[in-house]
């Protein structure tokens, strides 16, 4: 099972969990497995066309999946998937 790190703005959708385990052979499978466990994350991660929302970046370990194979990028059990939406706030 891969480890998925949940950003602060998504934690209300994951019952406050900041790190969850998810099964799946690809980044897309892993994210859909998260959506299965926490349905509120769906519209935050995926657009109406089923693609990843453009204001959400997903990293496999330290690399942006967009420079890998996107949602088709292969995931191993030891990998960490990080979801990273844009953040502002300096006050």
């Amino acid at each position: 099972m891969a480890t998925v790190k949940i950003p602060p703005v998504l934690r209300t959708a994951t019952d406050g969990e900041k790190q969850v385990s998810a099964t799946g052979g690809t980044v897309g499978d892993v994210l859909r497995s998260i959506v299965g466990d926490y349905p509120d994350t769906e519209r935050q991660l995926f657009g109406p066309d089923g693609g990843l929302n453009r204001y959400v970046n997903v990293y496999l370990n330290d690399e942006d999946v967009r420079v890998l194979d996107g949602l088709d990028t292969a995931v191993e059990d030891a990998d960490t998937v990080m979801i990273l939406p844009a953040m502002a706030g300096g006050q």
Partner: protein, 402 residues
């Protein structure tokens, strides 16, 4: 018995190869001044006050009293070519003999006539920055670092940094940049100090509640370091004023709390090619990176569109651990100083995440987007009308709150 200094000197000069100022100049011109291992090293052996008055550009300073101790730093290889000079060529001849006899340097020359003859030949000289005694004491811990030193401190004193916001992030950044002797600090903020700010905005105080944040920050900075010239902008950045406010600054420190201003700032700084040291904070988490136009990705490469309001906590008020902007702000200040001094590896093309509760730092790679709507183009092609443009975000935020 009469003092025989002249005999002593003549004997030494007979043994030391000499080189004329014009030949030295030809050597300096032929080598790359930025090279870490130049063919020839020029060493000024005069006292500190003589060096401070003027010296030859590209020379290294090793006062004769410290010759034995410090020559290894200026010329580590005893077989490299070393040229010494002083005021008139006498002290440097004696120093040259020491290097040859006591340290085994094999390729040492003495410049004839010293800097006096150099000047008479109208060759270029450098007049270093003149530090006051108070400045030498204030910045002494910087001066002692080889990576900073008097030259680096001069860069800091001559640099211009603009802080967007005198809030959570801006407060610690302003304090430490002021202490470091950044010569000109601009601060943009249209807010007033509120008691609820003081849990984290350490540049303000109970005494300045109700005052404008820029004035409150200015008072604190001036009390900390009179070398710093503070320019205040009691306003919000918008498409009409942004270019005028930011255009003369070397580096911008971004701690703005909303997406519209982040996109506006990004577009304007890409066009003006000004690096932005950017941080954001929420609750116990922080992010940090440097957006250096055309060198690394810009904000739109990372996030081409803003999130909808319910995913953008900046639309409303959120809690933050008071220490967190301190941690992130000081990392920002560190990156600012690294950029000014051109030392270390700046956080360009990397995004650093900090999780205070886990005590975990993570670095992610971020890249330029070849199809970025802004930084894939020539800066001159970005028009005023395009700055900060994207779907009507203010209306979106307003709708979400209502």
């Amino acid at each position: 018995m009469a003092n025989n200094y002249q005999d002593f000197l003549s004997k030494i000069k007979e043994q030391i190869p000499e080189i004329s100022p014009k030949d030295v100049q030809a050597i300096l011109e032929s080598q790359d001044p930025t090279s870490a291992s130049p063919d020839a090293v020029l060493v000024d052996v005069r006292e500190q006050h003589e060096w401070d008055e003027s010296h030859i550009p590209g020379a290294k300073h090793v006062p004769r009293g410290y010759l034995e101790q410090r020559i290894g730093r200026a010329a580590p290889d005893t077989d490299q070519r070393v040229i010494l000079y002083c005021q008139s060529g006498n002290r440097s001849a004696i120093a040259a003999k020491t290097l040859i006899d006591e340290f085994g340097y094999t390729n040492v020359e003495n410049m004839t006539g010293g800097i006096t003859d150099w000047k008479q030949a109208h060759l270029p000289i450098e007049i270093p920055f003149q530090y006051s005694d108070a400045q030498r004491i204030r910045y002494s811990r910087h001066m002692l670092l080889p990576e900073v030193g008097p030259e680096g401190q001069e860069k800091l004193l001559k640099s211009k940094v603009l802080l967007l916001g005198a809030g959570g992030l801006g407060a610690p950044v302003a304090l430490y940049l002021a202490a470091a002797g950044i010569g000109q600090l601009g601060i943009v903020d249209d807010d007033v100090v509120d008691a609820s700010n003081l849990q984290r905005q350490v540049i303000h105080s109970t005494n300045t509640i109700g005052e404008s944040k820029v004035e409150s920050a200015k008072q604190t900075i001036e009390a900390l370091n009179p070398d710093v010239e503070v320019t205040t902008y009691n306003t919000r950045l918008n498409a009409d004023n942004i270019v005028e406010i930011i255009k003369d600054y070397d580096i911008i420190v971004d701690g703005v709390d909303n997406f519209p201003t982040r996109y506006l700032l990004n577009d304007a700084t890409v066009r003006l090619k000004i690096p932005v040291v950017s941080a954001s904070i929420l609750a116990f988490d922080g992010q940090l990176t440097i957006f250096k136009p055309y060198d690394g990705p810009c904000y739109r490469c990372l996030y081409p569109v803003p999130p909808p309001a319910e995913l953008a906590p900046s639309c409303g008020e959120n809690g933050v651990l008071g220490v967190l902007p301190g941690t992130m702000g000081l990392l920002q200040a560190t990156e600012v100083i690294k950029l000014i001094l051109d030392i270390g590896d700046p956080l360009i093309g990397r995004l650093m995440l900090y999780d205070a509760l886990a005590e975990e730092f993570t670095n992610l790679k971020i890249r330029r987007d070849p199809e970025c709507p802004i930084c894939s183009r020539d800066p001159d092609e970005i028009s005023d009308e395009e700055l900060g443009k994207f779907p009507d975000y203010d209306a979106f935020c307003a709708g979400a709150i209502a």
